[in-house]
């Protein structure tokens, strides 16, 4: 047996590891490049919305919180907020939040489609043309773990901007657009969780990442070996 020819062995290791994880490494660099290039605030759709119009409240003229907890005893928390400009008490419960008119004290019914559209328009910054409004009872993939029901309001635009609105409080729950959806696919490919798109501890990713570590280190070894080898040859 002759001595181990390290350069050959390492080159073969580098090559075979690259054959094994090459496609994934290309996907990591391509998806990584997308994720670093398009700013995360843009991906989150911060540019699509503005804060809901507000203004100060005068609690002395409104229904007292003590009266609200008397009528909604299951409330765990009360918050004074606005629904289409009018003051309301939002009562958090273990199920859906309940809204109480802060001027009359009556419980408010779930929003109508027209109210939902008005609420969506009041926070949306783009062209206010609505393409579709749907009350969803099953979560679409892009709402991840958020539990329905909620209204899905899609506005006109190449990037299909979509706002999700709470059916009981009219609040903005989430916003999505084309670049978010591309990011979500990029993220799925990056973490190799093709079902939930959220588990960064999956075995496939663990095997692929450690193979990539070995591939990168063998590549680094080859690089330094080739530099030294050249010097020796010249000398």
């Amino acid at each position: 047996m002759t001595a181990i020819r390290w350069p050959l062995l390492v080159r073969r290791t580098h090559k075979w590891l690259a054959l094994f994880v090459g496609i994934q490494v290309v996907l990591w660099t391509v998806t990584g490049f997308y994720m670093v290039t398009v700013h995360i605030d843009y991906i989150h759709g911060d540019h699509l919305v503005r804060p809901a119009p507000g203004g100060a409240f005068s609690p002395s003229n409104l229904v007292k919180p003590t009266e609200v907890v008397a009528s909604v005893p299951e409330a765990t928390e009360l918050r004074l907020q606005r629904l289409l400009g009018k003051p309301v008490w939002r009562a958090e419960t273990s199920k859906m939040p309940v809204l109480i008119d802060a001027q009359t004290g009556t419980k408010l019914a779930p929003l109508t489609q027209a109210q939902v559209e008005a609420a969506a328009r009041s926070v949306y910054t783009g062209d206010p043309t609505i393409v579709s409004t749907k009350l969803l009872t099953e979560a679409p993939l892009e709402m991840q773990t958020r539990k329905p029901p909620y209204w899905q309001v899609e506005f006109a635009g190449w990037n299909r901007p979509t706002l999700y609105i709470s059916p009981t409080t009219g609040e903005l729950i989430s916003r999505r657009h084309a670049l978010w959806r591309v990011f979500d696919v990029a993220w799925m490919l990056h973490i190799m969780d093709y079902d939930e798109r959220s588990n960064v501890n999956n075995p496939l990713l663990r095997v692929a990442t450690w193979s990539a570590v070995a591939m990168a280190l063998s590549g680094a070894w080859l690089l330094f070996w080739s530099i030294r080898w050249r010097k020796k040859k010249k000398a």
């Binding site: 660099t29 391509v30 994720m35 670093v36 005068s58 919180p65 907890v69 928390e77 273990s94």
Partner: protein, 245 residues
């Protein structure tokens, strides 16, 4: 080798091999760091790292006391909440002077002292380990960087060296950090290359390196097709008649 390159067109495997080597030389270290930090993040248990979900609510489901009083607020407010701090009903008032807590039974201002902060942290994060140290921070440190305002830091003597952060203004539990998170955060810094704030992955440095690394991976992928001979696959493809080269 050189004479061979001269006879062939510009885009030769040799050119791609050179690009692969030079990009590797310049950006290879970061590529190695990306693979290692990625691999470590894949190993660290997400549940133990934590900190991604919103802070758990400390609300209890017990009934509101009959002695609840309306908030003593003569003027306008920007925000008003009725909530509980551990089990005590409080009003959280936001107005021009900032945010303050008022006891919902007596109307008196509630100060979030270290005892209250400890109660909040224990009930929100279910910690039973003894308290090691309590520090008041006027501004968030690196660990609590997603939150603003003065806060209490409570260090517990548990196996994972947990530190819980509680707002000194609203008494809300903000976040809890552990040694697993600290390891994760260090490698996340190596991954996102934001060595100061550890937060942004959209800065010019990472965009530049990611662009260069695209060349490393794409030339490498191309070279895969130039680096193997059919005989190297004999173990899977079976014997083959001599190649017609």
């Amino acid at each position: 080798m050189e004479s061979l390159a001269r006879r062939k067109p510009f885009f030769t495997p040799l050119l791609f091999r050179k690009i692969h080597k030079w990009v590797g030389l310049i950006l290879g270290l970061q590529f190695v760091l990306w693979t290692i930090s990625g691999a470590v993040m894949a190993l660290l248990d997400m549940e133990k790292v934590g900190g991604h979900a919103a802070a758990p609510s400390a609300a209890s489901s017990s009934a509101w006391p009959a002695t609840l009083a309306p908030p003593p607020l003569p003027g306008p407010v920007d925000g008003l909440l009725l909530r509980r701090v551990v089990n005590r009903p409080v009003y959280e008032v936001t107005d021009r002077s900032g945010v303050r807590l008022l006891d919902a039974q007596t109307g008196q201002q509630v100060t979030v002292d270290r005892t209250l902060a400890e109660q909040v942290a224990r009930s929100a994060y279910h910690v039973s380990a003894p308290l090691k140290q309590v520090t008041r921070l006027e501004k968030a440190n690196l660990e609590a960087r997603d939150h603003a305002g003065p806060m209490w830091r409570l260090d517990f003597a548990d196996a994972d060296n947990s530190s819980s952060y509680v707002s000194a203004v609203t008494a809300r539990p903000l976040v809890t950090r552990s040694d697993t998170w600290r390891t994760w955060d260090f490698v996340w810094m190596l991954h996102n290359m934001d060595y100061v704030n550890r937060k942004s992955f959209n800065h010019p440095l990472i965009i530049f390196v990611a662009f260069g690394t695209l060349w490393l991976s794409l030339t490498g992928f191309y070279l895969l097709f130039k680096s193997f001979r059919r005989r190297e696959f004999r173990w899977v493809l079976g014997p083959w008649r001599p190649e017609a080269r």
